[in-house]
Symmetry: C2
Subunit: 399 residues, 2 copies
């Protein structure tokens, strides 16, 4: 299915194997190129410790002159010092030379295990191969998606088509990982490509808002990687006029929708997870308050193990909301699990615990809804359960 | 060993079985009584959702007229509504009637599974039995410690003797659980008893400071229970004069020391844990900053699984510090694991990974040290690792 995700106009992509990963058949270097200077925007990790590729790419967006994104997997450039920065810069220099573009038109990402020096000779070989195998054909974007995978079990791709002001445009994207879900320090990376024409500063604002409600509303174990990066490139190949007004708004919605689908795919592929959990928090005084409660509930290991154990344990859900640091009166809180009301007015309500538990056990998707009476702000968050398999994967990965 | 922990003068205690727990041999009701009105202080959960016993006890401390603490285990009174409050009040009324004291001289706690109504008939039986079996002899405090156990594998007791201003005084204490470590919503409870004479408002300040650096510096999975309670009672049986000046300071240190030992016992008995981890954060601009970094590192499932997996994964430790929300320059951070320097100046240093890993695997105790150059504030935190056993206990406890 994913194989058929097409590239938007003006882009070519490649994913190649260059021996960074142990398995020589696995792709570990990805290149995405815009044939002409493109608008580029980026949103980066909020971790105080930012890896060298993040530090370099941050200085190069927003830009109206971007040409490419290069990324390796298998071994992360997670260093923050001079050596890490030199390696990140070298990767962009090699791509720039290959394309005949300025070095600062190239953005860079890196993901994978840490602790080993980046194997630059292999990466240089990989960049040469990736430049040689750039393609705009079907399958190229899937290879690019595979080239950034670490512990992902499936490549993650999305595409959307729309007609805006009489012009057909496309948004396609790829993503990998989720926060630091992975034993391999599995950074979250995503690249969104569009042939719409849009100014870089506008694209930056749209991407920031889209990320706020998609990639920033997911958690696996809540560990923020030092390498998290979401990039958007707009080639402008679909139209001569930059989008504005309602067409720009519709494009922003399309971009946000693509980001949301990719974010959900990340959570659905989270390590060891058996359940995909959607958390709605409604009736809050402000959106930051709603997000704080959703994030805290999503991050509670006791909530996660209750869902894994198919246990409608209202006490764990309610008390997790209670320690989020957001003032509320629990007499005003109502809690639903998969549509069944479990708790209101400070006490559990009678419900068929066996039926609720059986549905939890039988279905992968779980809906948790916390309803307050403090205002009209709301949010939606996606997370997964916590399983023995997660612990095993993250404790035993060296053996 | 623990059996020999003596009560301070002026106190009697009991722990009885009244059928709240499934196993009829297990103690599930605890009573501690001061023969004369005692100074009492309390520190309670910061969770916005506070259970009825917390809501009631909060209104009764600090006080110079306290007589007793009653607590049940096996089934928590976790409700926040009127029914929960009526049950909590009834427990204190029964004890007060038995002692011939005012109702507000009795404090109450409750811990155990939630979702079932509190079995008040059994609790009333238990309170009658506990009143009948109060004792000041050796063994009474251990029975009291057993009466509040839920998933604890051992009763937790501590005692300290000292001579202050020529008067011999004693502090003894009991504790159970750790935050919400337990499948049984295992609240953290602790009761500290002393025969020192001290004014209630002074005792309140001393207890608050002691808790800040002991029970508030431990985490298992970071889920704050709705029932957490630490109480201190001072009978004054050891002296006619209230402590003041240097003697009061020495008493405060003794109280803090007892709290720290109990807090450590809780972490050492954490569910499924294989390692006891001490985290030192030094060189911070402020103590709250140091605590935030320690708590975030302690709370990271990737840090916890790395320790379980005996993996000296500096990237997980450093990046966890990075998302604590405290500004720092990672070039200034140095990280030690069990005395071995792993990371400095933004990059790992060469170290014998096999030796560090073998020591992690072979020893229960782990020391993690994060050294910054931002100031002189520091803190110490205690936590444990995350194991498959923890997930199993918290997902499968109904079966």
């Amino acid at each position: 299915m994913n194989n058929s995700v097409p590239l938007p106009g003006g882009f070519r992509a490649s994913g190649v194997a260059c021996g960074i990963k142990r398995d020589p058949a696995k792709l570990d270097l990805t290149l995405v190129v815009s044939d002409r200077p493109a608008a580029a925007a980026g949103v980066f990790t909020r971790n105080r410790v930012a890896a060298a590729p993040v530090r370099l790419s941050r200085t190069r967006v927003p830009s109206d002159q971007a040409r490419a994104v290069v990324a390796n997997s298998g071994n992360a450039n997670a260093c923050t010092g001079a050596a890490g920065l030199a390696n990140a810069r070298r990767m962009t220099d090699l791509v720039a030379t290959g394309l005949g573009s300025p070095a600062d038109a190239v953005l860079v990402c890196s993901t994978g295990v840490i602790g080993e020096p980046l194997p630059m000779a292999r990466i240089e070989l990989g960049i040469a191969r990736a430049l040689d195998s750039l393609s705009g054909e079907a399958g190229a974007l899937e290879r690019a998606a595979r080239g950034i995978m670490t512990t992902d079990t499936v490549p993650k791709l999305v595409t959307r088509d729309a007609e805006l002001d009489g012009t057909r445009i496309r948004v396609s994207g790829i993503a990998k990982g989720a926060a630091m879900i992975g034993p391999n320090m599995g950074t979250m990376l995503s690249f969104l490509l569009t042939d719409a024409r849009i100014a870089a500063h506008e694209l930056q604002g749209m991407l920031a808002r889209a990320v706020e409600r998609s990639f920033n509303c997911i958690s696996v174990e809540g560990h923020t990687s030092t390498n998290d990066t979401v990039l958007a490139l707009a080639s402008g190949a679909a139209g001569a006029e930059a989008l504005s007004g309602e067409a720009a708004d519709r494009f922003a919605a399309l971009l946000a929708d693509a980001c949301t689908e990719l974010a959900q795919k990340i959570v659905r592929d989270a390590e060891g997870a058996k359940h995909f959990v959607t958390i709605d928090v409604v009736g809050m005084a402000s959106e930051p308050d709603a997000l704080r409660i959703a994030q805290t509930v999503a991050g509670s290991p006791l909530v996660k193990t209750a869902i894994y154990g198919a246990d409608p344990n209202w006490g764990r859900f309610v008390s997790a909301a209670g320690y989020a640091g957001v003032p509320f009166d629990e007499m005003e809180l109502r809690l639903w699990l998969n549509g069944t009301l479990l708790f209101e007015r400070g006490a559990p309500v009678p419900f068929d615990a066996r039926a609720v538990s059986e549905r939890l056990r039988g279905e992968r998707d779980v809906d948790l809804r916390l309803e307050f009476s403090l205002g009209t702000a709301s949010c939606r968050w996606w997370t997964c359960d916590l399983t023995e398999e997660y612990v095993r994967l993250n404790a035993d990965y060296h053996t």
